[in-house]
C-alpha cells in the first residue's frame, strides 16, 4: 500500500479551513490511544487534560498567562515563515528580550515613573530584535544557514542568562539564591483583573500585535512583499523586491516580538529575572504558528490551544498521575498532524494498493 498525491489545480478552500481541525481531531485520537497504553480511561484522561483546565476562573487566567507569550512569538514567526525565512531561535530572542528589559528595574531601582514600563518593553523588543539580527546578518552577508545559527544562539542565550542570574545581576540580599531583585510595582506589567486571577496585560499586547501583523500582511505593500518573496522568490526579484531586506525585516520583526514576549513574561508573570524564564515558549510557538496556518489571527486561537497543552499536562499529572511530559508529546503530535493535513489543501490524496499500481505501470 502506498499514498499517491495528485496536485490540485487550485488549493482547496475547504481544506484550508478544515485541516487544523482534522489535525486536532487526529491528535485527540492519538492521545486517547496514548492514555489507553498508559492504562488510563481515555475519556476521563482527555477530559481532565483538555476540559478541566477550562472550568475554573483561576485556571482560565493561567491559560491566558501562557497564551500571551505563545501568541506574541507566533505572530512574528508567522510573518517570518511566510517570507521563507526560518527563524527557529525565538527561544533565544525571548530570553534576550527578557534580559534587556530587566536591566531597567535592576540597574536603576530608583527610576519608578509611568515611563518605567514602556521603556522596559521597548528595551525588551530591542534586545530580541538585536539577537534576531545576528542570523539575519550572517545569512545576508555570508550566506550562512539561518536555521542552524538561530538555534545555536538559543543555547548561547540560555547560558548567558544563567550567568547573569547567578552572577552580576544576582540579588545581593538573596541568600545566594540565583535570581535578581524583585521588580518594584512600577516595573511590573499590571494584572487585568487582580481580584480574579493573575492574567496580565501581555495578552492584550499579543492580540494587538496579531491584528497589526494581519493588517500589514493583507493590506500593505510590505505585506505583499512578504507573501510574494515567500511564495515565489524569483517573481519577487523581478518585481524589484530585495530578498536581503526581507530577511532583515522578518528576523527583526519576529525577534522583536519574541523579545517583547520575554520582557512581558518576566515583568508580568515572574516579577524578577531568573536563571530560566521560559518553559520552551519559543519552540512551542513554532507549533502555534503552523497550527494557525501562518496567519497572525489564526495564531491567537492556536496560542490558546497550545497553552491548554501546558495546563493539561499539569492537570493530567495531578489527577491521573501520568507524567506532565504528556503535554510535550501532545504538542509534537499536533504539529505532525497539522503538517500532514496541510497536504490535503494542495493535493488529492489517494491510498493505492500494490496491485492497482502494477496495473498502472509499476509507478511508485
Amino acid at each position: 500500500m502506498h499514498i499517491e498525491l495528485q496536485k490540485r489545480p487550485v488549493p482547496s478552500r475547504l481544506f484550508a479551513v478544515l485541516s487544523p481541525f482534522i489535525a486536532l481531531g487526529l491528535t485527540l485520537v492519538a492521545g486517547a490511544i496514548l492514555f489507553m497504553a498508559l492504562g488510563k480511561n481515555p475519556f476521563d484522561a482527555l477530559y481532565s487534560f483538555f476540559i478541566e483546565p477550562l472550568t475554573e476562573i483561576w485556571s482560565l487566567h493561567e491559560l491566558t498567562i501562557k497564551a500571551a507569550p505563545l501568541i506574541l512569538i507566533a505572530v512574528g514567526l508567522s510573518v517570518c515563515y511566510r517570507s521563507n525565512n526560518w527563524n527557529i531561535g525565538a527561544e533565544g530572542q525571548f530570553i534576550m528580550g527578557g534580559i534587556a528589559g530587566s536591566l531597567v528595574p535592576i540597574l536603576m531601582p530608583g527610576f519608578q515613573t509611568w515611563l518605567t514600563l514602556p521603556l522596559m518593553l521597548l528595551l525588551g523588543m530591542a534586545g530580541g530584535a538585536a539577537w534576531g539580527a545576528i542570523p539575519a546578518y550572517l545569512k545576508t552577508r555570508f550566506n550562512t544557514n539561518e536555521i542552524l545559527t538561530s538555534l545555536m544562539l538559543v543555547y548561547t542565550a540560555q547560558l548567558f542568562l544563567d550567568w547573569l542570574a547567578r552572577g552580576v545581576l544576582r540579588d545581593p540580599n538573596g541568600n545566594n539564591f540565583p535570581g535578581s531583585v524583585r521588580f518594584p510595582a512600577a516595573a511590573e506589567l499590571p494584572e487585568i483583573m487582580p481580584s480574579a486571577g493573575g492574567a496580565h496585560y501581555g495578552i492584550v499586547l499579543a492580540i494587538i500585535a496579531a491584528f497589526i501583523a494581519w493588517f500589514m500582511l493583507r493590506y500593505t505593500l510590505n505585506g505583499f512583499e512578504v507573501r510574494v518573496l515567500g511564495a515565489n522568490p524569483r517573481a519577487g526579484r523581478f518585481a524589484g523586491f530585495s530578498q536581503k531586506r526581507m530577511t532583515f525585516f522578518a528576523f527583526l520583526l519576529s525577534g522583536g516580538l519574541a523579545g517583547l514576549a520575554g520582557i512581558a513574561e518576566v515583568s508580568g508573570a515572574i516579577g524578577q529575572l531568573r536563571e530560566t524564564i521560559s518553559p520552551g515558549y519559543g519552540f512551542t510557538a513554532i507549533i502555534v504558528a503552523f497550527l494557525g496556518r501562518l496567519n497572525p489571527l489564526g495564531a491567537i486561537a492556536a496560542g490558546f490551544m497550545l497553552a491548554l497543552t501546558y495546563l493539561g499536562g499539569e492537570a493530567a499529572q495531578m489527577t491521573l498521575g501520568v507524567s506532565d511530559k504528556v503535554g510535550r508529546v501532545f504538542q509534537g503530535l499536533l504539529l505532525f498532524f497539522v503538517l500532514g493535513c496541510d497536504t490535503l489543501i494542495h493535493y488529492h490524496v489517494r491510498l493505492v494498493w500494490r496491485k492497482a499500481t502494477a496495473a498502472a505501470g509499476g509507478q511508485a
Binding site: F142, M152, Y155, G167
Partner: protein, 306 residues
C-alpha cells in the same frame, strides 16, 4: 605521556556521537532530503538504548534497540515529507519536538537509576602498548562502528552504483525519476539509515559517554551534527575531521572549566555553540562553492507524476 592518550581518548569519545549522527544525516541529505529531526531521533535512541539495557541487562541489546528506535522514529518523518510531500524544515522540527517530549515520558522512571556501560575493547598486550595502545585497541565498540560507518559510507557513495543512484536522486530528482529510478523508495531508505545512525549516536551517549539517562541529554548535539554536514561539504571523511575538531573544542572547554582561568563556566559551555556558528560562517562564505557542493534537490519535495 599517558595524559596525552587520555585527552585524545576523551576527545574521540566526545566526537563519536557527532560523527555517527552526521554520517547518517549526510546520506539523507545526499539523497535530497533535509531532516532537521536529528536531535529528536538521537534523544529517542538514547532513551530507548538506556531503557532496553535496563530491562534486558545487556547493553548490546540496548544498542540494537536504539538503532531500531531511531529508524522507526525516522519513518514518521518519511511518511510526512515523502509520501505526503510536507514541508521538510517544519516536519524535521516537529520530529525534534516530539522526540524530546516522548523521550522525557519514556525515560521518566529511569531518571537517576544507574546505567550499564558498554565495555571497551581489551586485547591483552596490544591494548597495553604505551602511547597508542588504548587509542587503537582499547575503545568502546561504537567508536569502531563509527569508523567503519564513515569508510563504508564514503565507499558506498562514491564507489558503488547504488551510491551513484542515491546522489543522482539528491541532485536532480526529476531526471532520476525519468530514468526509472524509484526516487521515493531510495529516499525512504536513506531517511531510515539516517534515523538508525542517529539512534546509535544516542545510544553512545546513554551507554558509553555518560551511562545514565538525563532528560534532554543530547544537549544540541543533533544540531551540531547537522552543522557538521554543511561544514564537511557533504563529504564523509571531512565529517570525521569536523567531528574530532568539535570533540576537541568541547573537551577543551571542560578542561578550561576545571582549571578556572577566571572565565565563567557558562561562557566556556557556550563555546561549542559559538564555534559552530563561526565555522558555518567561514564555510558558507563562498557562495559559489556552497552551491557546487550542496545536493541540488536538497529540501525540495518530490511528487512523482503519472
Amino acid at each position: 605521556m599517558d595524559i596525552t592518550q587520555n585527552i585524545l581518548l576523551t576527545i574521540m569519545t566526545a566526537a563519536t556521537p557527532l560523527l555517527i549522527a552526521a554520517i547518517g544525516e549526510l546520506v539523507v541529505e545526499r539523497s535530497g532530503v533535509l531532516n532537521l529531526g536529528v536531535e529528536g531521533m538521537m534523544v529517542i535512541g538514547a532513551v530507548c538504548g538506556f531503557a532496553a539495557t535496563a530491562l534486558s541487562g545487556s547493553p548490546w541489546i540496548g544498542m540494537l534497540a536504539a538503532v531500531a528506535a531511531g529508524a522507526v522514529f525516522s519513518l514518521a518523518f518519511g511518511v510526512l515529507t515523502l509520501s505526503l510531500a510536507a514541508n521538510q524544515v517544519a516536519t524535521g522540527l516537529s520530529l525534534t519536538l516530539l522526540g524530546l517530549g516522548l523521550s522525557g515520558m519514556i525515560g521518566e522512571s529511569f531518571v537517576g537509576s544507574a546505567g550499564v556501560k558498554l565495555g571497551s575493547l581489551h586485547i591483552p598486550v596490544l591494548t597495553d602498548i604505551p602511547l597508542i595502545g588504548r587509542l587503537v585497541f582499547g575503545q568502546d565498540p561504537i567508536f569502531y562502528i563509527s569508523l567503519i560507518l564513515t569508510g563504508g559510507v564514503a565507499w558506498f557513495l562514491f564507489r558503488t552504483r547504488a551510491g551513484l543512484t542515491l546522489r543522482a536522486v539528491g541532485d536532480n530528482h526529476a531526471s532520476a525519476h525519468a530514468l526509472g529510478i524509484n526516487v521515493l523508495k531510495i529516499r525512504y531508505l536513506a531517511v531510515m539509515f539516517g534515523g538508525a545512525c542517529a539512534g546509535l549516536a544516542g545510544a553512545h551517549l546513554s551507554l558509553v559517554y555518560t551511562p545514565q539517562w538525563v532528560e534532554n541529554m543530547t544537549a544540541g548535539r543533533g544540531w551540531i551534527a547537522l552543522a557538521l554536514v554543511v561544514f564537511a561539504s557533504w563529504r564523509p571523511w571531512r565529517v570525521l575531521g569536523g567531528a574530532y575538531l568539535f570533540g576537541a573544542v568541547s573537551i577543551g572547554q571542560l578542561h578550561a572549566q576545571a582549571l578556572g582561568f577566571g572565565i565563567p563556566s557558562q561562557f566556556l559551555s557556550a563555546l561549542p555553540y559559538v564555534a559552530t556558528i563561526v565555522v558555518l560562517v567561514i564555510i558558507s562564505r563562498d557562495r559559489r562553492l556552497t552551491l557546487m557542493n550542496t545536493p541540488a534537490s536538497l529540501g525540495r519535495p518530490f511528487v512523482p507524476d503519472r
